[in-house]
Symmetry: C2
Subunit: 229 residues, 2 copies
DNA sequence: AATATCAATATTGTCGACAATACACTGCCA
DNA sequence: TGGCAGTGTATTGTCGACAATATTGATATT
């Protein structure tokens, strides 16, 4: 699928790699529901493999915070909570603000040109179908900025941890937002600050952009809770 | 050892837990040198266990960035570089600035009282022996602030990733610093901002504190390189 | 009816063996 | 002499079985 193609596809060398990838997607898409218990024998049987590589895969899923493992009890998909999502957004503000600042310093002119092209592509997509942009285009943009930071540890932190959780929350909480046109303008402004090599402004705008998203998400979740209560 | 007691000791339930803990310390302390290849059969033999739990432990070490694993080739302790250390410091500025801001909002009066007590304890230790403070007291202080953020994801990110790497770099690069008295004053100022519930100031001071440490580290590393060249 | 206890069953952690892959060494050729 | 190919060995990935631990269901007690 194109989402994994755009955002550094996992290299599949071993059975564990393959199974980990499949389980990541199954969890994010809710095929294995949040909070549910994971059975090693059942999954191993389903994949037609032994429990050894399955446990390797589970270990990696634990590392990217999609599951929690308890010794002698087993693994369980994480429970999604408003609190946790807000926590993640706060961390995103912090780290992506840094990424934007570094991107303003580090991105090549070619990188920035490609970022512009990506924005143009997103502009066309918004006119046709907003849902595609909401699902993966936004993440694509953010990931490009993080890559532009040239801070490999930051890129790893995002790729191995935050990315999957953000996808999971988006998928499960069905975040269709009225905010798209405004968010796109903010993307453009961030890129402009980067193009001007103004790190401080880029950081400010990115932090503010994610902060607005957080407030929007908080509001939506509160409304969602009000409905279900 | 008291460093692990203060900073959330790993709960030992399985052989893999135990081996992971031992390997973490062996890597941080240089018993297994940076860059070196890890042999599963040799380590399993040394610990008197099968390769199964050893691989579990290696998977966890990979998750906390102490080793890198390549399929069908094996595991290797990470190589320490100036670039990587600077990357980590930049991320620390970002995340610990956030932590300090949240701590100013979230810490209870009791928490703050205990933080004061910790500072007083460190003051006494500085008078007697600066090396203890340099090794773990500083981390202790920082970890308290991060815990005070009450952002569980942030605490996990620190505990599972940054903490080990910081220890590793400190141990291997032998960071004895002339900066201790000044750094302690900065700690006091950060706590004061938190006590005043001034999140913006706490964040500013913490970011600046770590930025100063980064510059100090960069300078030391440059001097170190000059000597060895 | 609710709670506690016990035994059976299922699951998780670990073991040792086999299959697949990479590495190291030797010999041959240009 | 240097590079390449082939072979043997070591290491990594996976398998299935056994041991240890937790869970579930049935029964007894209050």
């Amino acid at each position: 699928m194109s989402d994994t193609q755009e955002n550094e596809p996992m290299v599949i060398s071993t059975i564990a790699d393959k199974v980990c990838n499949k389980l990541q997607n199954a969890i994010v898409e809710g095929v294995i529901p949040a909070g549910s218990k994971i059975s090693e024998p059942a999954l191993a049987s389903e994949f037609g493999i032994s429990r050894g590589p399955l446990r390797e895969a589970l270990s990696r899923l634990e590392a990217c915070n999609l599951i929690e493992r308890t010794p002698n009890v087993g693994a369980r998909v994480v429970t999604l909570t408003r609190e946790h999502l807000v926590e993640i957004y706060l961390i995103r503000e912090s780290l992506e603000g840094l990424a934007a600042r570094l991107a303003a310093e580090k991105m090549s002119d070619k990188d920035i040109f490609e970022l512009d092209a990506l924005l143009e592509k997103h502009k066309q997509q918004i006119k046709q179908d907003q849902s595609y942009y909401q699902k993966e285009g936004d993440m694509d943009f953010h990931f490009r900025i993080i890559k532009g930071s040239k801070n490999s540890h930051l890129i790893d932190m995002f790729s191995n941890d935050l990315y999957h959780l953000i996808r999971l929350y988006r998928y499960q909480f069905g975040m269709v937002s009225k905010r798209v046109p405004r968010a796109f303008v903010e993307h453009e402004q961030i890129v402009d600050a980067i193009r001007q090599r103004d790190g401080e402004l880029a950081q400010f705008l990115m932090t503010r952009h994610i902060s607005s998203s957080r407030r929007n998400v908080e509001k939506m979740l509160d409304e969602h809770l009000a409905i279900t209560d």
